[in-house]
């Protein structure tokens, strides 16, 4: 089953990039290693969101909540219980997927934009709880200095851990998108009514997609705890959700790796611009407006005129599968 994958050109490129990243700690200063780790975590989060948005046309506007649920679950278990670290790491994504299922059950009944609208509201309940339940979550301050297992506690250690988990997750997502499940999802994206008429239970399929995406979002949350050693309510705040949505748009949401690029750009911008100004959300808003007006192809990643112009290229792409 991996034969086809390995024969692809992009596979070779990915492998080369992966090898360079493996060697990065030996020549990059520590701050950049840390920054790369943050980008990896965010990239995984954006990729998981894009399963819904780019491949499923599900407007998952509050994906950050599931990231937060993953991080809080793992973080709280590590900080407040004595269960083995790996159990906490597994519990994070599972909790996120469960939250995804619950919220998804309600949202999935509404169409498109209204799906996103309701999700913002329901997700914000989880934010409000994390924010107010001082006894458990530390409220506004969150919890800092979460004990991380020794072998991944150092900057380099966490870097490698995040890199490897990211690699595995990207590989799994790739397989999922190329599987019958992924094909069907993309068909639903293009034409849900037609899909129902060929016997596909559209809402079930979408709900499964949400669960898968929120699971990976939870993995990203766990990785965040590994890198930062802390949790706080901003992880579940909708501005973050919007930020990752913008990453998907910026990178190109009908492409596989677009969100990674988007995450790299936005995280770098936030890191470097953020040191000069406290008005990051203003900048984010301006970026979004610029995207809407001047990069519609970049935003849509795909539109019909573009399609006809580069028809052979796209056809070739789908042939590679």
């Amino acid at each position: 089953m991996f034969g086809e994958l390995i024969r692809q050109k992009s596979f070779g490129v990915s492998l080369a990039v992966f090898l360079v990243l493996l060697l990065a700690p030996s020549f990059l200063p520590r701050f950049y290693i840390y920054l790369l780790a943050v980008i990896f975590v965010t990239a995984l989060l954006a990729m998981s969101l894009n399963l819904c948005v780019g491949h499923g046309m599900l407007f998952q506007f509050h994906h950050g909540v599931f990231y937060g649920v993953g991080a809080y679950t793992a973080g709280l278990l590590l900080a407040k219980t004595s269960i083995p670290w790996w159990m906490a790491f597994v519990a994070g994504p599972l909790a996120a997927a469960f939250a995804g299922l619950l919220i998804g059950l309600f949202c999935i009944r509404l169409n498109k934009l209204y799906f996103g609208m309701l999700q913002i509201s329901l997700g914000s309940l989880i934010w409000a709880i994390a924010f107010r339940w001082y006894g458990l979550t530390g409220g506004d301050d969150g919890i800092h200095g979460i004990p991380i297992p020794d072998f991944i506690a150092s900057t380099t250690g966490s870097y490698y851990f995040v890199l490897i988990v990211l690699g595995i997750c990207l590989f799994l997502m790739y397989l999922i998108l190329k599987s019958p499940f992924g094909s069907t999802l993309q068909a639903i994206r293009d034409n849900p009514e037609r899909c129902a008429a060929v016997g596909i239970h559209v809402r079930h399929h979408q709900l499964k997609t949400i669960v898968i995406a929120t699971f990976f979002g939870g993995v990203a949350g766990v990785l965040f705890v590994v890198v930062e050693g802390s949790i706080f309510p901003d992880l579940l705040f909708w501005v973050l959700s919007l930020e990752i949505f913008i990453m998907c748009l910026l990178g190109g949401w009908f492409t596989f790796a677009g969100p990674i690029l988007g995450a790299a750009i936005i995280v770098s911008l936030r890191t470097f611009v953020g040191t000069y100004t406290e008005y990051w959300t203003l900048i984010l808003g301006v970026i979004l407006i610029l995207l809407i007006f001047f990069l519609p192809e970049g935003i849509m990643g795909y539109n019909y005129r573009q399609l006809f112009r580069s028809r052979t290229k796209y056809a070739h792409d789908s042939q590679m599968e």
Partner: protein
């Protein structure tokens, strides 16, 4: 095989379907005709579950399917095409058909096997039978109108239906394309023993191919019978053929 009994459907005050009756015997090629707005498309949407009827029954092999959602009706053996070309524009032609084949084989939920290795043969066979093999790697959105309509039929075939419903399969086609498409439909009916229900504007096409014709007007059924009967029905002549 399919029996529609006294079906009603209204949108607010407008009675789109108002007392429709229809019988489709196994192996038949049945046409529904009627002027624009007679309720043909609504009738089809009611049969395949896109819409829920207000009153009346739809029986498939003596089972009432009138309250079922589209995907369940499809699983019971009714596949359809739509009036406006309704394909998956961003997927390749091959993928378009494969999606329905996968659904038919209950493989849509397989997560970790490459789709490129599943149901390839069946999909290829369907593409061959409708003559789209050469274009199988084109994006569906880039096909000509005629090819999209053919692709729609191919997608419906992926479900291995007992009953195939085609909503104006030749709408917007040139005379040549129309002839080819109707030949294809007749061939499918003959070769694969398909039961086909379709609606159509072109009277020549209808009387040349259908074994049974149902005539609708203002949402209700005037008559159903073989072409001879229908042609000589005075009510039909007054109501419909008269103003052609």
């Amino acid at each position: 095989m399919l029996r529609v009994e006294d079906l009603h459907k209204s949108f607010d005050d407008f009675k789109a379907v108002n007392g429709a009756h229809l019988t489709v015997e196994s192996g038949q090629l049945v046409a529904v005709i009627g002027p624009n707005g007679a309720g043909k498309t609504t009738l089809f949407n009611l049969i395949t579950g896109q819409l829920q009827p207000g009153r009346g029954r739809i029986l498939l092999n003596d089972e009432d399917i009138s309250k079922l959602p589209p995907h369940v009706i499809c699983r019971k053996g009714i596949a359809r095409s739509f009036q406006i070309a309704n394909v998956f524009p961003r997927l390749s032609v091959f993928r378009n058909v494969q999606v329905s084949v996968l659904s038919q084989q209950k493989l849509s939920n397989k997560l970790f096997r490459p789709a490129s290795q599943i149901a390839v043969e069946e999909t290829g066979r369907i593409l061959e039978s409708v003559g789209l093999v050469d274009k199988k790697m084109d994006l569906a959105g880039s096909l000509s109108h005629g090819d999209k309509r053919i692709l729609e039929i191919a997608i419906a075939l992926g479900n291995e239906p007992e009953l195939l419903i085609l909503d104006e399969p030749t709408a917007g086609m040139s005379p040549d394309e129309t002839a080819t498409t109707m030949a294809l439909i007749q061939r499918l009916a003959a070769d694969q023993g398909l039961t086909i229900l379709f609606c159509e504007h072109d009277m020549e096409v209808v009387f040349g191919t259908a074994q049974s014709i149902m005539v609708m007007q203002q949402g209700g059924t005037i008559v159903q019978g073989d072409p001879q009967t229908v042609r000589h029905n005075t009510e039909v002549q007054e109501a419909y053929l008269g103003d052609e």
